[in-house]
Protein backbone atom coordinates (compact mmCIF):
# COMPACT_ATOMS: atom_id res chain seq x y z
CA UNK A 1 0.00 0.00 0.00
CA UNK A 2 2.78 2.35 0.94
CA UNK A 3 4.68 1.72 -2.31
CA UNK A 4 1.41 2.16 -4.24
CA UNK A 5 0.96 5.63 -2.81
CA UNK A 6 4.62 6.40 -3.30
CA UNK A 7 4.43 5.50 -6.98
CA UNK A 8 1.30 7.61 -7.40
CA UNK A 9 3.04 10.49 -5.70
CA UNK A 10 6.11 10.11 -7.93
CA UNK A 11 4.00 10.07 -11.09
CA UNK A 12 2.15 13.17 -9.96
CA UNK A 13 5.39 14.89 -9.04
CA UNK A 14 6.80 14.12 -12.47
CA UNK A 15 3.77 15.67 -14.11
CA UNK A 16 3.93 18.75 -11.90
CA UNK A 17 7.62 19.17 -12.53
CA UNK A 18 7.22 18.95 -16.30
CA UNK A 19 4.28 21.33 -16.13
CA UNK A 20 6.14 23.82 -13.94
CA UNK A 21 8.76 24.29 -16.61
CA UNK A 22 6.44 25.45 -19.40
CA UNK A 23 3.15 26.03 -17.55
CA UNK A 24 1.51 25.48 -20.93
CA UNK A 25 -1.39 23.36 -19.75
CA UNK A 26 -2.11 25.63 -16.82
CA UNK A 27 -2.29 28.85 -18.79
CA UNK A 28 -4.10 27.43 -21.80
CA UNK A 29 -6.70 25.60 -19.71
CA UNK A 30 -7.28 28.64 -17.52
CA UNK A 31 -7.72 30.88 -20.52
CA UNK A 32 -10.01 28.38 -22.17
CA UNK A 33 -12.21 28.17 -19.09
CA UNK A 34 -12.37 31.96 -18.95
CA UNK A 35 -13.36 32.09 -22.63
CA UNK A 36 -16.00 29.46 -21.96
CA UNK A 37 -17.52 31.54 -19.18
CA UNK A 38 -17.38 34.59 -21.46
CA UNK A 39 -19.25 32.80 -24.24
CA UNK A 40 -21.87 31.65 -21.77
CA UNK A 41 -22.28 35.11 -20.35
CA UNK A 42 -23.29 36.29 -23.82
CA UNK A 43 -25.34 33.20 -24.60
CA UNK A 44 -27.47 33.13 -21.45
CA UNK A 45 -28.76 36.63 -21.39
CA UNK A 46 -32.36 37.78 -21.38
CA UNK A 47 -33.20 41.47 -21.82
CA UNK A 48 -29.64 42.43 -21.09
CA UNK A 49 -29.50 40.64 -17.76
CA UNK A 50 -28.14 37.20 -16.86
CA UNK A 51 -30.67 34.38 -16.87
CA UNK A 52 -31.73 33.24 -13.42
CA UNK A 53 -30.46 29.83 -12.45
CA UNK A 54 -28.03 29.43 -15.33
CA UNK A 55 -24.97 29.84 -13.11
CA UNK A 56 -24.92 26.28 -11.77
CA UNK A 57 -25.10 24.73 -15.21
CA UNK A 58 -22.52 27.09 -16.62
CA UNK A 59 -20.10 26.29 -13.83
CA UNK A 60 -20.28 22.57 -14.41
CA UNK A 61 -20.13 22.88 -18.20
CA UNK A 62 -17.04 25.07 -17.90
CA UNK A 63 -15.48 22.48 -15.57
CA UNK A 64 -16.36 19.62 -17.92
CA UNK A 65 -15.05 21.33 -21.06
CA UNK A 66 -11.84 22.53 -19.43
CA UNK A 67 -11.35 19.09 -17.92
CA UNK A 68 -11.67 17.41 -21.30
CA UNK A 69 -9.12 19.75 -22.78
CA UNK A 70 -6.71 19.19 -19.89
CA UNK A 71 -7.07 15.42 -20.19
CA UNK A 72 -6.34 15.45 -23.89
CA UNK A 73 -3.24 17.60 -23.34
CA UNK A 74 -1.99 15.62 -20.37
CA UNK A 75 -1.91 12.37 -22.25
CA UNK A 76 -0.60 13.92 -25.43
CA UNK A 77 2.51 14.61 -23.41
CA UNK A 78 2.75 10.97 -22.39
CA UNK A 79 2.58 9.94 -26.01
CA UNK A 80 5.61 11.94 -26.97
CA UNK A 81 8.92 10.26 -26.26
CA UNK A 82 7.05 7.04 -25.41
CA UNK A 83 6.79 8.07 -21.77
CA UNK A 84 3.79 5.88 -21.16
CA UNK A 85 5.58 2.78 -22.38
CA UNK A 86 8.40 3.56 -20.00
CA UNK A 87 5.93 3.84 -17.14
CA UNK A 88 4.23 0.59 -18.10
CA UNK A 89 7.57 -1.22 -18.28
CA UNK A 90 8.53 -0.15 -14.79
CA UNK A 91 8.05 -2.82 -12.09
CA UNK A 92 5.22 -0.98 -10.37
CA UNK A 93 1.53 -1.43 -9.73
CA UNK A 94 -0.19 -0.15 -12.84
CA UNK A 95 -3.20 1.25 -11.01
CA UNK A 96 -0.72 3.45 -9.16
CA UNK A 97 0.10 5.15 -12.46
CA UNK A 98 -3.61 5.79 -12.90
CA UNK A 99 -3.90 7.32 -9.43
CA UNK A 100 -0.83 9.48 -9.99
CA UNK A 101 -2.19 10.87 -13.25
CA UNK A 102 -5.62 11.29 -11.68
CA UNK A 103 -4.19 13.40 -8.87
CA UNK A 104 -2.40 15.62 -11.39
CA UNK A 105 -5.57 16.15 -13.40
CA UNK A 106 -7.66 16.84 -10.30
CA UNK A 107 -5.13 19.39 -9.14
CA UNK A 108 -5.26 21.20 -12.48
CA UNK A 109 -9.06 21.17 -12.50
CA UNK A 110 -9.15 22.53 -8.95
CA UNK A 111 -6.93 25.42 -10.00
CA UNK A 112 -9.27 26.09 -12.92
CA UNK A 113 -12.26 26.03 -10.57
CA UNK A 114 -10.56 28.53 -8.26
CA UNK A 115 -10.65 30.96 -11.18
CA UNK A 116 -13.97 29.99 -12.73
CA UNK A 117 -16.13 30.05 -9.59
CA UNK A 118 -15.45 33.69 -8.68
CA UNK A 119 -15.77 34.66 -12.36
CA UNK A 120 -19.23 33.12 -12.64
CA UNK A 121 -20.22 34.48 -9.25
CA UNK A 122 -19.32 37.91 -10.55
CA UNK A 123 -20.84 37.71 -14.03
CA UNK A 124 -24.03 35.92 -13.04
CA UNK A 125 -24.44 37.32 -9.55
CA UNK A 126 -24.59 33.81 -8.10
CA UNK A 127 -24.07 33.35 -4.34
CA UNK A 128 -21.52 30.56 -4.57
CA UNK A 129 -19.85 31.63 -1.33
CA UNK A 130 -22.97 31.47 0.82
CA UNK A 131 -22.21 27.88 1.84
CA UNK A 132 -18.54 27.60 0.96
CA UNK A 133 -17.76 24.26 2.58
CA UNK A 134 -20.66 22.40 1.01
CA UNK A 135 -20.04 24.07 -2.35
CA UNK A 136 -16.36 23.14 -2.24
CA UNK A 137 -17.19 19.54 -1.35
CA UNK A 138 -19.69 19.30 -4.20
CA UNK A 139 -17.16 20.67 -6.66
CA UNK A 140 -14.42 18.45 -5.28
CA UNK A 141 -16.33 15.20 -5.46
CA UNK A 142 -17.71 16.10 -8.88
CA UNK A 143 -14.22 16.86 -10.14
CA UNK A 144 -12.87 13.58 -8.82
CA UNK A 145 -15.68 11.61 -10.46
CA UNK A 146 -15.25 13.38 -13.79
CA UNK A 147 -11.46 13.08 -13.65
CA UNK A 148 -11.57 9.38 -12.72
CA UNK A 149 -13.53 8.45 -15.82
CA UNK A 150 -11.62 10.96 -17.91
CA UNK A 151 -8.17 9.75 -16.88
CA UNK A 152 -9.10 6.17 -17.67
CA UNK A 153 -10.54 7.01 -21.08
CA UNK A 154 -7.76 9.40 -22.01
CA UNK A 155 -5.17 6.77 -21.09
CA UNK A 156 -7.09 4.17 -23.07
CA UNK A 157 -7.22 6.36 -26.15
CA UNK A 158 -3.59 7.33 -26.14
CA UNK A 159 -2.71 5.38 -29.26
CA UNK A 160 -6.11 5.49 -30.92
CA UNK A 161 -6.89 7.24 -34.16
CA UNK A 162 -9.35 10.13 -33.95
CA UNK A 163 -8.63 10.29 -30.23
CA UNK A 164 -9.22 14.03 -30.14
CA UNK A 165 -12.90 13.65 -30.98
CA UNK A 166 -13.37 10.21 -29.44
CA UNK A 167 -12.46 11.38 -25.95
CA UNK A 168 -15.45 13.76 -25.62
CA UNK A 169 -17.71 11.23 -27.37
CA UNK A 170 -16.84 8.55 -24.83
CA UNK A 171 -16.52 10.83 -21.84
CA UNK A 172 -19.68 12.92 -21.85
CA UNK A 173 -22.37 10.19 -21.76
CA UNK A 174 -20.45 8.42 -19.02
CA UNK A 175 -20.06 11.51 -16.85
CA UNK A 176 -23.61 12.81 -17.26
CA UNK A 177 -24.67 11.33 -13.89
CA UNK A 178 -21.84 13.28 -12.22
CA UNK A 179 -22.96 16.45 -13.98
CA UNK A 180 -26.60 15.89 -13.05
CA UNK A 181 -25.69 15.40 -9.40
CA UNK A 182 -23.27 18.32 -9.39
CA UNK A 183 -25.71 20.73 -11.00
CA UNK A 184 -28.53 19.46 -8.77
CA UNK A 185 -26.52 20.11 -5.64
CA UNK A 186 -25.30 23.52 -6.84
CA UNK A 187 -28.81 24.65 -7.78
CA UNK A 188 -30.04 23.61 -4.33
CA UNK A 189 -27.33 25.76 -2.75
CA UNK A 190 -27.86 28.78 -4.96
CA UNK A 191 -31.50 29.26 -4.08
CA UNK A 192 -32.38 32.29 -1.92
CA UNK A 193 -33.02 29.97 1.06
CA UNK A 194 -30.58 27.21 0.26
CA UNK A 195 -32.03 23.70 0.37
CA UNK A 196 -29.24 22.09 2.39
CA UNK A 197 -30.94 18.71 2.67
CA UNK A 198 -31.24 18.41 -1.10
CA UNK A 199 -27.65 19.57 -1.57
CA UNK A 200 -26.49 16.90 0.85
CA UNK A 201 -28.52 14.29 -1.00
CA UNK A 202 -26.78 15.18 -4.25
CA UNK A 203 -23.44 15.19 -2.43
CA UNK A 204 -24.11 11.65 -1.23
CA UNK A 205 -24.94 10.70 -4.81
CA UNK A 206 -21.64 12.21 -5.97
CA UNK A 207 -19.70 10.27 -3.36
CA UNK A 208 -21.41 7.08 -4.45
CA UNK A 209 -20.65 7.78 -8.10
CA UNK A 210 -17.02 8.57 -7.25
CA UNK A 211 -16.60 5.28 -5.42
CA UNK A 212 -18.19 3.36 -8.30
CA UNK A 213 -16.14 5.04 -11.00
CA UNK A 214 -12.87 4.84 -9.09
CA UNK A 215 -13.36 1.16 -8.35
CA UNK A 216 -14.24 0.35 -11.95
CA UNK A 217 -11.37 2.47 -13.27
CA UNK A 218 -8.82 0.83 -10.98
CA UNK A 219 -10.03 -2.60 -12.08
CA UNK A 220 -10.04 -1.89 -15.80
CA UNK A 221 -6.89 0.24 -16.04
CA UNK A 222 -4.49 -2.68 -16.02
CA UNK A 223 -6.21 -4.90 -18.65
CA UNK A 224 -6.83 -2.07 -21.12
CA UNK A 225 -3.29 -0.76 -20.87
CA UNK A 226 -1.63 -4.04 -21.82
CA UNK A 227 -0.65 -4.15 -25.43
Amino acid sequence: MKSFLRVAWLVMRKDLRVESRSREMLYTTLFFSASCVLVFSFAFVREGRPVEGAAAGILWIAVAFSGTLALARAFERERQHDVLRGLLLAPIDRPAIFVGKLLGIVLLMVVVELVVVPAIALLFRAPFFAHPFLMATLLGTGTIGFAAVGTLFAAMLIRTQSRAVLLPILLYPMTVPVLIAGVGGTVALLQPEANLALAKFWLAMLVFLDVTYLTLALWTFEPVMTE
Binding site: V149, L152, F153, M156, L157, R159, T160, Q161, S162, R163, L166, I169, L170, P173, M174, V176, P177, I180, T212, Y213, L216, W219, T220, P223, V224, T226, E227
Partner: protein, 220 residues
Protein backbone atom coordinates in the same frame (compact mmCIF):
# COMPACT_ATOMS: atom_id res chain seq x y z
CA UNK B 1 -25.08 -22.15 -34.03
CA UNK B 2 -25.53 -24.43 -37.03
CA UNK B 3 -27.65 -23.60 -40.03
CA UNK B 4 -30.62 -25.77 -39.08
CA UNK B 5 -30.99 -24.33 -35.61
CA UNK B 6 -30.69 -20.84 -37.03
CA UNK B 7 -33.38 -21.44 -39.65
CA UNK B 8 -35.66 -23.05 -37.08
CA UNK B 9 -35.27 -20.08 -34.74
CA UNK B 10 -35.88 -17.67 -37.59
CA UNK B 11 -39.12 -19.44 -38.52
CA UNK B 12 -40.22 -19.51 -34.88
CA UNK B 13 -39.40 -15.83 -34.44
CA UNK B 14 -41.22 -14.72 -37.55
CA UNK B 15 -44.30 -16.79 -36.65
CA UNK B 16 -44.34 -15.34 -33.15
CA UNK B 17 -44.28 -11.83 -34.56
CA UNK B 18 -46.98 -12.64 -37.08
CA UNK B 19 -49.19 -13.96 -34.28
CA UNK B 20 -48.31 -11.21 -31.79
CA UNK B 21 -50.77 -8.57 -33.10
CA UNK B 22 -53.62 -11.02 -32.54
CA UNK B 23 -52.52 -11.70 -28.98
CA UNK B 24 -52.23 -7.98 -28.38
CA UNK B 25 -55.68 -7.33 -29.87
CA UNK B 26 -57.22 -10.07 -27.70
CA UNK B 27 -55.64 -8.65 -24.54
CA UNK B 28 -57.98 -6.52 -22.41
CA UNK B 29 -57.87 -2.74 -22.44
CA UNK B 30 -56.10 -1.05 -19.57
CA UNK B 31 -58.43 0.99 -17.39
CA UNK B 32 -57.08 4.52 -17.82
CA UNK B 33 -55.20 4.57 -21.12
CA UNK B 34 -57.27 2.26 -23.28
CA UNK B 35 -55.87 1.43 -26.69
CA UNK B 36 -52.76 3.58 -26.22
CA UNK B 37 -51.46 1.24 -23.51
CA UNK B 38 -51.00 -1.57 -26.01
CA UNK B 39 -47.68 -0.21 -27.19
CA UNK B 40 -46.50 -1.59 -23.82
CA UNK B 41 -46.31 -5.03 -25.44
CA UNK B 42 -43.50 -3.82 -27.71
CA UNK B 43 -41.98 -1.11 -25.55
CA UNK B 44 -41.12 -3.20 -22.50
CA UNK B 45 -39.76 -6.26 -24.39
CA UNK B 46 -37.52 -3.91 -26.41
CA UNK B 47 -35.94 -2.62 -23.22
CA UNK B 48 -35.71 -6.12 -21.68
CA UNK B 49 -33.75 -7.27 -24.70
CA UNK B 50 -31.64 -4.11 -24.66
CA UNK B 51 -30.65 -4.71 -21.02
CA UNK B 52 -29.90 -8.34 -21.83
CA UNK B 53 -27.73 -7.27 -24.76
CA UNK B 54 -25.88 -4.79 -22.54
CA UNK B 55 -25.20 -7.46 -19.92
CA UNK B 56 -23.98 -9.88 -22.56
CA UNK B 57 -21.75 -7.19 -24.02
CA UNK B 58 -20.39 -6.29 -20.60
CA UNK B 59 -19.67 -9.85 -19.58
CA UNK B 60 -18.15 -10.75 -22.94
CA UNK B 61 -16.00 -7.63 -22.72
CA UNK B 62 -14.83 -8.67 -19.26
CA UNK B 63 -13.90 -12.10 -20.57
CA UNK B 64 -12.11 -10.50 -23.50
CA UNK B 65 -10.11 -8.23 -21.22
CA UNK B 66 -9.10 -11.07 -18.96
CA UNK B 67 -8.68 -13.99 -21.33
CA UNK B 68 -8.25 -12.26 -24.74
CA UNK B 69 -10.50 -14.73 -26.54
CA UNK B 70 -11.53 -13.42 -29.99
CA UNK B 71 -14.90 -15.17 -29.70
CA UNK B 72 -15.69 -13.07 -26.64
CA UNK B 73 -14.86 -9.91 -28.59
CA UNK B 74 -17.14 -10.98 -31.47
CA UNK B 75 -19.97 -11.58 -29.02
CA UNK B 76 -19.34 -8.21 -27.43
CA UNK B 77 -19.52 -6.20 -30.65
CA UNK B 78 -22.58 -8.12 -31.89
CA UNK B 79 -24.52 -7.60 -28.69
CA UNK B 80 -23.47 -3.93 -28.51
CA UNK B 81 -24.95 -3.31 -31.95
CA UNK B 82 -28.15 -5.06 -30.95
CA UNK B 83 -28.26 -3.11 -27.70
CA UNK B 84 -28.21 0.12 -29.71
CA UNK B 85 -30.88 -1.21 -32.07
CA UNK B 86 -33.30 -2.44 -29.43
CA UNK B 87 -32.62 0.62 -27.31
CA UNK B 88 -33.56 2.77 -30.27
CA UNK B 89 -36.82 0.83 -30.59
CA UNK B 90 -37.49 1.45 -26.92
CA UNK B 91 -36.63 5.15 -27.21
CA UNK B 92 -39.04 5.53 -30.16
CA UNK B 93 -41.95 3.54 -28.72
CA UNK B 94 -41.59 5.30 -25.37
CA UNK B 95 -42.20 8.87 -26.59
CA UNK B 96 -44.98 7.65 -28.89
CA UNK B 97 -46.71 6.36 -25.78
CA UNK B 98 -45.72 9.30 -23.61
CA UNK B 99 -47.24 11.82 -25.98
CA UNK B 100 -50.64 10.21 -25.48
CA UNK B 101 -50.29 9.18 -21.86
CA UNK B 102 -48.46 12.17 -20.34
CA UNK B 103 -49.05 14.84 -22.96
CA UNK B 104 -45.34 15.37 -23.66
CA UNK B 105 -42.92 13.56 -25.95
CA UNK B 106 -40.11 13.53 -23.42
CA UNK B 107 -39.46 14.16 -19.72
CA UNK B 108 -36.14 14.51 -17.96
CA UNK B 109 -37.08 12.10 -15.21
CA UNK B 110 -34.61 9.59 -13.77
CA UNK B 111 -35.44 6.55 -15.86
CA UNK B 112 -35.68 8.30 -19.24
CA UNK B 113 -32.47 10.21 -18.61
CA UNK B 114 -30.52 7.15 -17.51
CA UNK B 115 -31.91 5.07 -20.38
CA UNK B 116 -30.87 7.70 -22.89
CA UNK B 117 -27.39 7.83 -21.33
CA UNK B 118 -27.14 4.05 -21.58
CA UNK B 119 -28.05 4.17 -25.26
CA UNK B 120 -25.48 6.91 -25.88
CA UNK B 121 -22.77 4.99 -24.06
CA UNK B 122 -23.25 2.08 -26.42
CA UNK B 123 -23.40 4.38 -29.43
CA UNK B 124 -20.03 5.72 -28.31
CA UNK B 125 -18.83 2.08 -27.98
CA UNK B 126 -19.69 1.52 -31.64
CA UNK B 127 -18.03 4.78 -32.69
CA UNK B 128 -14.88 3.79 -30.84
CA UNK B 129 -14.75 0.41 -32.50
CA UNK B 130 -15.44 1.86 -35.92
CA UNK B 131 -13.10 4.84 -35.89
CA UNK B 132 -10.59 3.96 -33.22
CA UNK B 133 -8.29 2.03 -35.49
CA UNK B 134 -6.38 -1.10 -34.49
CA UNK B 135 -6.37 -2.04 -30.84
CA UNK B 136 -9.68 -0.38 -30.11
CA UNK B 137 -11.31 -3.72 -29.18
CA UNK B 138 -9.76 -3.72 -25.73
CA UNK B 139 -10.57 -0.08 -25.11
CA UNK B 140 -14.16 -0.60 -26.17
CA UNK B 141 -14.31 -3.60 -23.82
CA UNK B 142 -13.33 -1.33 -20.93
CA UNK B 143 -16.05 1.11 -21.97
CA UNK B 144 -18.66 -1.66 -22.14
CA UNK B 145 -17.96 -2.66 -18.56
CA UNK B 146 -18.66 0.88 -17.42
CA UNK B 147 -21.82 0.85 -19.51
CA UNK B 148 -23.00 -2.39 -17.99
CA UNK B 149 -22.67 -0.91 -14.51
CA UNK B 150 -25.31 1.62 -15.57
CA UNK B 151 -28.11 -0.91 -16.20
CA UNK B 152 -29.16 -1.68 -12.61
CA UNK B 153 -29.63 2.04 -12.03
CA UNK B 154 -31.90 2.39 -15.03
CA UNK B 155 -34.01 -0.48 -13.72
CA UNK B 156 -34.35 0.66 -10.11
CA UNK B 157 -34.57 4.37 -10.89
CA UNK B 158 -38.36 4.27 -11.11
CA UNK B 159 -38.60 2.66 -7.69
CA UNK B 160 -36.13 4.99 -6.02
CA UNK B 161 -37.40 8.31 -7.29
CA UNK B 162 -40.94 9.40 -7.84
CA UNK B 163 -41.05 9.65 -11.60
CA UNK B 164 -43.90 9.80 -14.10
CA UNK B 165 -42.75 6.51 -15.58
CA UNK B 166 -44.63 3.42 -14.36
CA UNK B 167 -42.78 1.45 -11.68
CA UNK B 168 -41.40 -2.05 -11.92
CA UNK B 169 -44.48 -3.29 -10.12
CA UNK B 170 -46.48 -3.42 -13.34
CA UNK B 171 -45.07 -6.55 -14.97
CA UNK B 172 -45.24 -8.89 -11.93
CA UNK B 173 -48.90 -7.93 -11.37
CA UNK B 174 -50.25 -8.26 -14.90
CA UNK B 175 -53.80 -9.60 -15.20
CA UNK B 176 -54.44 -12.95 -16.92
CA UNK B 177 -55.32 -11.48 -20.35
CA UNK B 178 -52.29 -9.23 -20.50
CA UNK B 179 -49.90 -11.77 -19.03
CA UNK B 180 -50.08 -14.08 -22.05
CA UNK B 181 -49.70 -11.36 -24.66
CA UNK B 182 -46.84 -9.71 -22.79
CA UNK B 183 -44.71 -12.80 -22.28
CA UNK B 184 -45.46 -13.92 -25.86
CA UNK B 185 -43.98 -10.65 -27.10
CA UNK B 186 -41.02 -11.02 -24.76
CA UNK B 187 -40.45 -14.47 -26.23
CA UNK B 188 -40.74 -13.14 -29.78
CA UNK B 189 -38.23 -10.38 -29.07
CA UNK B 190 -35.83 -12.85 -27.42
CA UNK B 191 -35.96 -15.18 -30.41
CA UNK B 192 -35.40 -12.22 -32.74
CA UNK B 193 -32.44 -11.13 -30.61
CA UNK B 194 -30.88 -14.61 -30.71
CA UNK B 195 -31.32 -14.86 -34.47
CA UNK B 196 -29.76 -11.46 -35.10
CA UNK B 197 -26.98 -12.14 -32.61
CA UNK B 198 -26.11 -15.43 -34.31
CA UNK B 199 -26.10 -13.82 -37.75
CA UNK B 200 -23.92 -10.93 -36.58
CA UNK B 201 -21.42 -13.17 -34.82
CA UNK B 202 -21.16 -15.32 -37.92
CA UNK B 203 -20.49 -12.21 -40.00
CA UNK B 204 -17.80 -11.09 -37.59
CA UNK B 205 -16.20 -14.53 -37.69
CA UNK B 206 -16.14 -14.46 -41.48
CA UNK B 207 -14.61 -10.98 -41.44
CA UNK B 208 -11.87 -12.28 -39.15
CA UNK B 209 -11.25 -15.21 -41.50
CA UNK B 210 -10.99 -12.89 -44.49
CA UNK B 211 -8.54 -10.73 -42.55
CA UNK B 212 -6.44 -13.77 -41.73
CA UNK B 213 -6.39 -14.90 -45.33
CA UNK B 214 -5.43 -11.40 -46.40
CA UNK B 215 -2.50 -11.35 -43.99
CA UNK B 216 -1.40 -14.83 -45.04
CA UNK B 217 -1.45 -13.72 -48.66
CA UNK B 218 0.54 -10.60 -47.93
CA UNK B 219 3.25 -12.27 -45.89
CA UNK B 220 3.87 -15.04 -48.44
Amino acid sequence: MNQRVFTALLVVGVSMFVFAPFMIAWAPYESTMGLVQKIFYFHVPSWFVMFLAVFICGIASGIYLLKEKPAADRLAVASAELAVLFGLMGLVTGPLWARKAWGVWWQWDARLTLALILEMIFCSYLLLRQYGGPGSEKLAAGLAIFGMANVPFVYISVNMWRTVHPTTNVVPTLGPGMFGAFWWCVGAYLVLFLVMLAARIRLEKQLAQVEELHLALETD
